[in-house]
Every structure is written in C-alpha cells, then in structure tokens.
Amino acid sequence: MNHDEFDELCALQTLGLLDEPERRRFEEHLNSPCATCRETFWELAEATALLPYALPQRAPSPALKERIRQSIQSGAPMEAEAVRPARPGPGRWVPLTIAVAASLILSLGGATFYLNRQITQQRETIQQLNGRVAALAEQAAELTTLIRTMTDPEVKSIRLAGLTPEPRASGKAFIDARTQTVLFYAYGLTAAPAGKTYQLWAIPKGKTPINAGVFAADSTGSAVLTVRGLSDMDVLETIAVTLEPAGGLPQPSGPMYLAGS
C-alpha cells in the first residue's frame, strides 16, 4: 500500500467510514513499521478530534458531575439513568452562583496543588540525578586514575598473596615512586572483627615498615586504598596487610593477612 492509498483509508477511518475489509487493510498497514503513516494517522485523528471545538461550547447540567460521582461510588452499571433537567426557578440563582464559585475555587486549588506537586517531584528527581551524576563523575575519575596507573611503564606493581588467617584473599599494589603514591586493591577479605582494622604497610629495603593507612573490606570482601606522600618508594621492597586494633598502630603487631614483594 502506498502513502496516498493509506492517506485515504486514514481519513475514512478517523470518521468511522471503513467497511470491514478496508479496516483490516488499514490496521495491517498501521501496525507495519512505516513511521510516516503512523504519524499521518495520528495527526489526522488529532485534527478530526478538534472538530467538536468548532461548535459553540455548551455545558452539561451541574447535576451531571454529581451523578457520575455517585455512579462511581455505588459501582453503578455503565448505562445509568439520566435525570431530565428541570427548569431552574428564580430561587436557584444564589445557590448556583455559590456552587459555581466553589467549583472554580476548588478546581483552581486542585490544579495548583497538582502542579506544585509535579514541580516538587521534578525538583526531587533533578536532585537525585545530580547526585547520581556526581557519583558517576567520581567513579570515572577513579577509573581514569587506575587506567593511567596500570598502563604507566614507570609504575611498579606488587601482587599480594593471602596468608594463613585468610589464604583465599589476594591483593595488588601499584607504586609510583615519582609521585610517592601507592594504589592498593584487596579481594577476598572477611570483615575485620569488632575493635580491629586492617592496616597497610610499605616496607622499604632494610628499613622499618611505614604506616600506609587503615582500611575496611566492604560486603564483597574488597577494599581500595590510595596512599600519597610515602617516602622511600624507590627502594620499596614489600607491601603487607596486618590486623591491628581499631585506628591502627605506628608499627605492625598483629597477624599478617596479605604480603607481596
């Protein structure tokens, strides 16, 4: 079916004038991937639906809204009996005016309420998205640092093996002597017992261990630590992790969990 043919079927369909075979052909084409035809039908349907606006607008009786409300509350069948409107007597004008004013106030109040809620919800969404963007930017910066470090030929890496307390644990440290920075990753560590913490040590050749900070493993057993300003990185020989009292100690005292040279 070409676009002209479909155009004609569309026009007749929006007016409910298609016979059954034509309607089937129309539906078939409408459900095809032809976006132009769907757009054509959508616009014709919209244009046709505007036809009632050309008529002088008339209002139903004020009682209709209440009848609909009652039908909803009573779960009435679709074909509810409509009450033939009585001619309003002179005494109806005052209550009617009050009713119209009340309806106006309620409607405007309701619209304002909904629009305000919509604005509030959208602001909350924007705040959430901003928070998400900031978190993603932080993650991106971390990943960039990691990639740069891992691919830098000047950066040394040390693999750490799990020792007796946690033989399945492992770790990896990237050492950049130029910036005196150590990037450390640990895997497979159980959470430290209460009152204890894991502590990282950098041990230069022939020197005492240097405190490189304390850390906790997350729920997956992983930990990431970036340590800057460490001295003697050019002669660094060993990286190790011990379990120490919370807050850490100046020198290692507890069992060693990870070590690598």
Binding site: D7, A11, L12, E43, E46, A49, L50, Y53, P60, A80
Partner: protein, 189 residues
Amino acid sequence: MQTDLDRYLLQRVQQKDMNAFSLLYERYCRTLYTLALRILSDRTDAETIVHDVFLYLWEHTDTYDEARGSLAVWLVTLTRNRAIDRLRAGASKRDTLGGADPLPEGLEAVTSSQPLESLLEQERQSLVRNALETLPAAQRSALELAYFDGLTQAQIAAQIGEPLGTVKTRIRLGLRKLREVLSPYLRAV
C-alpha cells in the same frame, strides 16, 4: 494535544484519585457534551453519553494507549462512537415515540467557569472554525455529514447526489487540508 497535565491527571485517576478525575471532568465535559448534543440533539441523551464516557474513563483507564493518540482524541472518539451508536439505535424509536428533548432555540452557549480554560476554549474554537472555513463548502459539508450526522459513505453520496468516489475524495482532501492548517496546533496544546 497531549499535555503534561493530562498525563499526570490520568496517572492519578489510575490510582483512583477522585480530585484528579474531577479536574479531568472540568477540562473535557463541555467539549464532550457539545459533541454528543450536536449528534443526538437531545440534552438527556447527550448527558447519558458523557456520564458513560467518564465512568468508562474511571473504570478503564488502563485501556488508554498514549501511543495511539492523546487523551483528548480518546475521549472525543469514545463520545462520538457512543453518540453515533445511540443515534442509529434510537432513530426509529424516537420517530415512533414523537421525539426527544430538543434544545430550545436561542439557548446561549456556555463557556468554562475557569478563566484559563475558557480562554483556551475560545482560542481552539476560533482556530478550528478558521481552519474549516478554508475548506471548499462541498468538502466541509461531506465532513460534517460523516462526523456529526454519522452517515455512511453511501448515505452521504445519496444525500448530496454525487458518486461514492467523489464523497471519498472530498473527505480525503478535506481532512488533509484540515490537518495541514491545524498542523502547527496539533502538538502545541
């Protein structure tokens, strides 16, 4: 014509929020009633149609598919289809019972009680009337006979004394022109 407000109100109606339903009623009751009244020429019948359409909206919001058109299109189409069905079903009955409750001559048109809605209604009315006036009288007449009087293509052909093909052409050209003229407006409201 789908507006964010319609979309939001519809979501609330799906959650059975009567206030949202009330606002949708205020937005569309006049247009739907006007359409039903034009087709049926009877206030009681027209109100019954509007009653049923809004009740359907309350109970079957889930059957509305935004991909197939705006809420306004859905409501107008529901109203027109029900009114045309009632017109066809009741035509013979009304003939034998002596007529329905006709609209009194000279009854003034009523606009919305909400100032903004009223302005929008006037704006829409003026746009659509102007658009219809750009059509040749024969095309406009064919559209009105089909849309408001619910006549089939064959009935229109018989009424205006023209071949079926001419009726189809007039309807196609008329609607295409209407769409062109109203095009900037279709997505703007």
